[in-house]
Every structure is written in C-alpha cells, then in structure tokens.
C-alpha cells in the first residue's frame, strides 16, 4: 500500500479544516506521547493526533484517510498496555475522548447510551449521582479508560461473573465504517430504543477484539444492572491450586457470588504459597450477607479451603470500584507493568498457576497472578503480571520475554491471550483455523479495501 499521497503539511491543513486546529497536532511532543503506552512495547512513530467531537468529523477524517491512504488508529484510554493504540504503520491516532456525552439512561430497559469517549469513571460517577439504583460493570482499570475501549476488547469487571464479559453487555453500536459511512447495529438500526442486539443478524461481535480494524465506534449502548444495597467480600485461602476448579464450580452453582477473583502472589510474604479467593456478595440487609457468608464458609471448608478474616484495610482496598490495580506498576519502583491476560477454561487454572510461577521466577520477577471468573465458569480471565522498571531498558526487555513465553504457554494449554500485542496476535493467528483466518481477511478487505484501519493488527497474510 502506498502511504500518504499528499505531503504531511497538506494533510494537517485538511485535518484542521475538518475539526479546527486546536485539536489536530503533529507537534513533536504530542507525537512523542502518542507513540508509546505504559506497557513494554517499543515506541512506534505517529504522524498526526486528532481529537474529533462529532460523528461527521470522523466521517470526513475517514474519507480523507481513504483518499490519501493514511492509517487510522482509534484510541480510548490507551490503557490496554499491549500497544494496541500505537500505530504499526504510522498515520493518525484518533483520540476519542472528546466525544464524551452521556446521551441517555434508560431506567426501565436498563441501558446507557453513550458516546465512545465516555470514561468508565464518568459513567460510574454519573450513575451514582443521578441513578443510584443502577450500576455498570467497570473493569479494575484506571477510571480514565473508556467504556467503549473496554467493551470492544472483551473486557471484564465486577459484574462479569454474573452477566458475562463487557463485550456481551453491548446492546447496540454506532460505527463509522472504513468507507466513512455510519452504520447502526442492534435494535437501534430500526428502533429508537437501543435495548437489544437481536433479533436480527448480530454483527456487533465483528467489532469486538478486532482492535479498531473494522471501523470506529462512535456510540454504544451498554447494559446497566440493578444496584444492590450492600456489597461485601468473603475471603478464602487455599494451599493447593488443584482444589480451585471444583471449589469455584461449587461456588458458582449456588448463585451466591457477584464477583469471584483469585490472587496468587509471592509478596506480601503471607500470601506466598497460598491462593487467596475473593468472593463478593451482595444483599439488601446484614442478615442476607451473613447467611451468604455462612454458606460460603461451608463451601470453602468442603472444598479444602478456609475462610479468612482479613484486616479492615483489605476490605477497603478490595471493595473499592475500580480497585487500584495499577499499583502493580510500582512493584519494581519503576512505573511499569504488563500482563498476559489469558482466557482459559476453568480446569486449566492449576496448570496456568504453575506456568506463571515458573516463568516469573525464571525472569527474576516476583510471581503476581490472579483471575476473574466470567459468566459463572464459562471462562476465566487469568492474568500473569510482569512489573518492570521503566528507567531500565534491560528490565523492560526481560518483561517482554516473559510475556512472549507466557503467550506461547497459554496457547499450548488451550487458552487464548486477551488484547494481545502484535507478537501475541501473530502466535494466535499461527494457531488459528485457516478458514477462520480467511473469513477474517475476507471481511476486512471487503470493509476496508484501502487497508486504512489500524493496519498491522490481526494481519492475515
């Protein structure tokens, strides 16, 4: 593909004509910031950063990009850590965060219709203030990430155990297709209510985990859920990871849990050699929470685990929404971490714990792992996290190797790395059924014949 028919000054001028010069940049300091993310990916050059405000502006940018063969990379919070919003082939980074209107909250059909740049923090705070009986499932990512960016990568959060990953919580989507046309998907294609994906052919899935290669989402409807009055946390502890599949299975049979997390870390010292289980329960009264706690204690006991009363501050830390998971970035006094988030089947939990442990120790990194269970036990998002010191290139390289090895092992045991960086995507594609790959390629070239949408990602040759 021949890139950039026009010279960059002419492109800048055209972009400024579309959205005004305040929100278009090719200044070196802006390009520097947008050429990197907080993970281990090396910086990659960016040519332009733009921040559109309207769908029409995006349409015009996409049309310009088609004419001039300029790659476009849509960006939300830019927090996947896996370099997904750093262009592979240069071009425009389309920072979506000025499109941040909460358009409608439908109380009875329980959905929020929002623009794609709305952050999880903003939606959460808005609901707390204006619709205290409703809640949205948010990830434990910082509140600066976008609801769209998260849902569009099969993200998961505190309601995912009950209701599925965040991609499945999308009720409707408005996208600017790679040809610049606007397309509405879901019930909003024919109704003023953005309340369901069906019952018409469901194309929303095409846009999930395709990393912006098939279009730019501009609006989405995300499911909301009734907010229980009380929320509490019941800690458990077990020594042998082999008991986990059964234990988690039995907890999810009861419908007791809102959210289930496990944590495996060598630090702080008391955690070493144990798996900490965190089951979140909700209810309308203290009695209800007490009875659920009692039942859980019983399940723990039967499942060769035990209940753990934790110090008060642990409840404060782990009941916060979102949890401050980013603290892992400072484990090596260095401002960085990246993890392989692997979607794996429940039965593979003991094996992946061993893998994570071995790879971490081999690379001199303190083992830090955990999982969130999604939709009962239909899958687990298991993360193996590698902290690094951003000021030490060797440490970054070390973490990069650990991540790559982990991706390979995850695929070996039948799991799939989530929101994978370029190298991981290549490993996934190597293993993927050729017909799936062909379908992907066919859809992509039909929608995006000029190859302008985030080229380099999910590249099927």
């Amino acid at each position: 593909m021949e890139l950039f028919v026009l010279n960059k000054n002419e492109i800048i001028k055209k972009l400024c004509d579309i959205i005004g010069k305040e929100f278009v940049s090719n200044k070196s300091e802006d390009l520097f910031i947008y050429s990197q993310d907080p993970g281990v990916s090396d910086p990659r050059p960016v040519d332009f950063v733009v921040m559109p405000k309207t769908v029409e502006e995006i349409q015009k940018i996409v049309k310009l990009a088609n004419e001039e063969k300029i790659p476009i990379v849509p960006m939300g919070g830019g927090m996947t850590l896996s370099g997904l919003v750093i262009p592979v082939k240069g071009g425009i980074v389309l920072d979506m965060k000025r499109m941040d209107e909460i358009i409608e909250i439908n109380e009875s059909s329980r959905y929020a219709l929002i623009e794609a740049g709305v952050t999880t923090g903003k939606l959460q705070a808005y609901l707390e203030e204006h619709h205290p009986n409703l809640e949205v499932s948010i990830p434990d990512a910082p509140p600066s990430v976008t609801v769209a960016g998260n849902a569009l990568i099969h993200g998961s959060g505190f309601l995912s155990q009950k209701h599925g990953d965040h991609g499945s919580m999308i009720n409707g989507l408005e996208v600017v297709l790679p040809n610049g046309e606007v397309c509405k998907l879901g019930s909003c294609a024919l109704s003023k209510y953005w309340f369901t994906r069906g019952p018409i052919p469901d194309f929303i899935g095409l846009f999930i985990s395709s990393f912006g290669t098939l279009g730019i989402a501009t609006k989405l409807s995300i499911k909301l859920y009734p907010k229980p009055k009380m929320r509490y946390l019941v800690f458990g502890l077990c020594k042998d990871p082999k008991v986990l599949p059964n234990l988690i299975y039995n907890i999810t049979r009861t419908d007791l849990a809102e959210d289930i997390l496990i944590g495996i870390q060598d630090k702080p010292a008391w955690m070493k050699g144990y798996v900490v289980i965190m089951v979140y329960i909700t209810g309308d009264s203290e009695e209800e929470l007490d009875s659920k706690t009692k039942l859980l204690k019983k399940i723990y006991r039967k499942g060769k685990a035990r209940y753990m009363k934790a110090p008060d501050r642990y409840y404060d830390i782990f009941l916060e929404k979102p949890q401050f998971a980013a603290k892992a970035a400072d484990f090596r006094k260095g401002g960085g971490f990246e993890y392989v988030g692997a979607f794996i089947p429940l039965e593979k939990i003991p094996e992946i714990i061993q893998i994570g442990n071995d790879i971490s120790l081999k690379h001199g990194i303190i083992p830090t792992m955990g999982a969130r269970f999604i939709s009962k036990t239909h899958s687990a998002m298991f993360f193996i996290s590698y902290s690094f010191n951003r000021a030490d290139p060797k440490d970054i390289e070390n973490a990069r190797h650990a991540l790559h090895e982990t991706n390979k092992e995850v695929l070996n045991i039948g799991g799939i790395p989530w929101k994978s960086e370029l190298e991981g995507q290549k490993l996934i594609l190597q293993k993927m059924d050729p017909n799936y790959k062909m379908l992907l390629k066919t859809i992509r070239s039909a929608l995006d014949p000029n190859g302008i949408m985030n080229p380099g990602n999910w590249e099927v040759n």
Binding site: F32, I33, M51, G78, Y126, E129, P143, D330, K333, R390
Partner: protein, 394 residues
C-alpha cells in the same frame, strides 16, 4: 523524603505510570485538571508532562519552545498531587514540574511572557512582579502608627500591595482592631511567581533579604493574607535552604485562634449567602480546609454554602503557576467555570482567602457579567463590628 538534589527527582519521575487518576476529582465525576480539561491531548495531562520530563532526561526528546509551553500550561494547582495514587511519588508532582521549568529556563526556553516576572522582580526599582515602583511601606507604617520592633510582621505581599489594596488595608485595620503588636518591613517579592515559573537564580538572595528584614524587627511571627506568600514562606523558603525560627500564619489562622479563644467576637450580622473558594496554595498545597470554613461559620447571619467541588476537589481559579501572565484569556476561562459553579449554589458572594484568586475570579465575574460579589474573608470581617476582649489578647 524531599527532593533535595537534582538527582532525586530525575531518579523517580519515571515512576509515573500515566494511569490518569490525576485528571479527575475524587469521585471521577469530572476532569479537575484545568490543563487536561482544556487541551485534551494526553500530552497536557500530568502523566503526559511526567513522560515528557522523563523523555528529556533520557534524551528521547529534545527541548523546544512547544515542549516548554506544555510544561508552562499548568496552574500547578495540585489536583494531580491529590489524586495520584502512587504514594511514593505523588507528593512531588508539582516539584517535578517546577524543577523541569527551571531546566527549561536553563536551556533557554522560558516563554517570553513569563520572563517578565523575573525582569520586574529583579529590577531594583521594583522588586515585585507587577512592575510597580517598590513600596518600602514606610508611609503605611506611619499611617497606622506601627513600631520598628514588634512581635508580628505583616508580610503584605505584592498582589495585596500593588493590586488588591483593599485587602491590604482591611488586614491592617483588622490587626489594629485586634490590638496585635505588629509591624511592616520593606519587603521584596516572596518569590512565588518566579519559583513557580522556574526562574530560580535570584530566589535565595530574595529570601535572605526578607528574612534579614524580618529578623531586624525582632518578630517571632509572620502573618500574611496572601495564600501565595503563605505557601512560599512556609514551604518554598525552607526548600531553598532558608533557616528561620519565626512562625508563619495566614491571617485566617490568627482570626480563627482569636475567635476560638474568645479574644474577639463578631457582633454585627452578615446576612448574605456566601460560598468559599479554596485557594490551591492554602488548600491542596498546605492542607488548610476546615480553618477558613470555621471562621465563616462563626459570622452571625451568614448562610454558608459549598460548591460542588470543594476542599481537596476544588477547581482551581486558573491564575497560578504563571498561567495568569502566560495565558491571560485561558486563566479567565478557568475562573469562569469556578464563578459559574459558585452561582449554582445560590450564593451572592464568592469569597476566598487569596488576593491572586480574588483578582482572577473578579476578572471572570466582570468579563462574563456573572453578577457575584467577589470578596476576601478578611474584607468581610473588616465590614463587621468586632468586639475585643482586651483582658487576654495575644
């Protein structure tokens, strides 16, 4: 830990993960970083600035006027310090920005408008950033019949002395009324504006000069009605190696103490609805949140109401960090948001404890005809009848 050497900050600035908590209020309801809220590029978030600074240290990016402008387009309001979750790092964020600005100055990239602050402050006719003829305060001393030696020094500050004289005069009257044994010095700028803008070469000399003047009076306490001077004398002077034994108080602290001890009593009523703007320099930078509120609440007849964003979450007035001189229109834009927020409370009076905030809030109030009365706490007190209990004054 304090950032004592250049190496200190250079060796921890990379610990910023760029997670973005710094952009928000505590509840995430709104962006509370004025710079990010305006520019919206990640570059203009605190994380963006930290990464640029790290890039400069590493040599991954070079100084340029544009880059320097990014560092200067920050009011140093401290919302990032308040909301950054990394405890080993967060308290230094404003220091990093000021240190990086000092590097910009060294590298020859101080923006032109901010350079004026230094030029005027260094001018021996002026010694203040406003370019006014230096006042040695001798006339005021005479007018208020002040001694050469006293227990207290009232450090007026350049903004009160050259721009907000009503506040200066109200403070002088209040101190007299309360029978405080105080005097004035021939003060030179406390250096807040030049420290905030990284133009630090003469700072130590200015501090030494002011301390010598204060010592000459024999005072054991320094009082000021300026949030900027207060923060600077209390924190920055020490950072620059000053050694002094006097206590530093904001006038509101003195008033609170006098009220609490029953040494003064407010007798007349102030029948207005008042909201309080927390100046960054005594709020987030020093942590005085409840003290001013307790003073307002002791004023008879007052209906004291809070803005949505208050205390640690206060929206900056937009004047600090050299933004008022560097970006005058934007400074007023920031301030407009604050005055509008004040209006939403139903208040008719927007009050603060900083002459610099007062200036900028008034500018927005007037420019956009928002119709509030903008007034300092000390000026409110000056309008009221105050009973003095002579028996046990300080």
């Amino acid at each position: 830990m304090t950032l004592e050497t250049e190496q200190d900050w250079k060796s921890i600035v990379h610990r910023c993960f760029r997670c973005g908590y710094c952009k928000f209020t505590h509840s995430y309801s709104d962006f509370n970083c004025p710079s990010y809220k305006k520019y919206r590029f990640e570059t203009y978030s605190t994380g963006g600035r930290m990464w640029l600074i790290f890039g400069l240290i590493n040599g991954d990016i070079q100084w340029s006027q544009n880059l320097s402008n990014v560092l200067y387009a920050c009011t140093t309001c401290g919302n990032c310090v308040e909301n950054c979750r990394f405890e080993k790092f967060n308290s230094f964020i404003v220091d990093f920005i000021e240190a990086a600005r000092a590097e910009a100055v060294k590298a020859g990239f101080c923006p032109e408008k901010q350079k004026l602050l230094l030029e005027r402050t260094m001018n021996s006719e002026m010694f203040n950033p406003y370019g006014e003829q230096n006042s040695d305060n001798a006339d005021l001393k005479k007018e208020y019949d002040l001694p050469d030696n006293a227990e207290w020094v009232y450090f007026i500050g350049c903004t009160s002395n050259y721009r907000q004289k009503k506040l200066r005069d109200a403070t002088l009257r209040l101190l007299k009324k309360a029978k405080i044994d105080f005097t004035l010095i021939d003060e030179h700028c406390c250096c807040s504006p030049i420290i905030r803008t990284g133009q630090i070469t003469p700072v130590k000399d200015f501090i030494d000069y002011n301390i010598t003047q204060i010592k000459k009076t024999g005072a054991s306490k320094v009082i000021t009605s300026c949030a900027g001077c207060y923060r600077t004398i209390k924190k920055d002077w020490l950072k620059f190696g000053a050694e002094y034994e006097f206590e530093v108080l904001h006038t509101l602290e003195l008033v609170k103490q006098l009220l609490d001890d029953g040494k003064i009593k407010i007798k007349s009523e102030y029948n207005k609805t008042v909201t309080y703007h927390d100046p960054c320099h005594i709020g987030r930078h020093v942590g005085l949140y409840e003290e001013p509120r307790e003073v307002y609440k002791q004023i008879p007849g007052i209906n004291f109401v809070e803005m949505k964003r208050n205390r640690e979450n206060a929206w900056c007035c937009g004047a600090g960090g050299g933004v008022k001189i560097g970006y005058p229109d934007w400074a007023v834009e920031i301030s407009k948001e604050r005055v509008e927020e004040a209006k939403e409370t139903g208040a008719t009076v927007l009050s603060s404890t900083c002459p610099f905030c007062r200036t900028n809030l008034s500018d927005a109030n007037e420019k956009h005809e928002l119709g509030l009365e903008v007034i300092d706490l000390i000026e409110i007190l000056d309008q009221l009848e105050i009973e003095i209990n002579d028996s046990n004054l300080i």
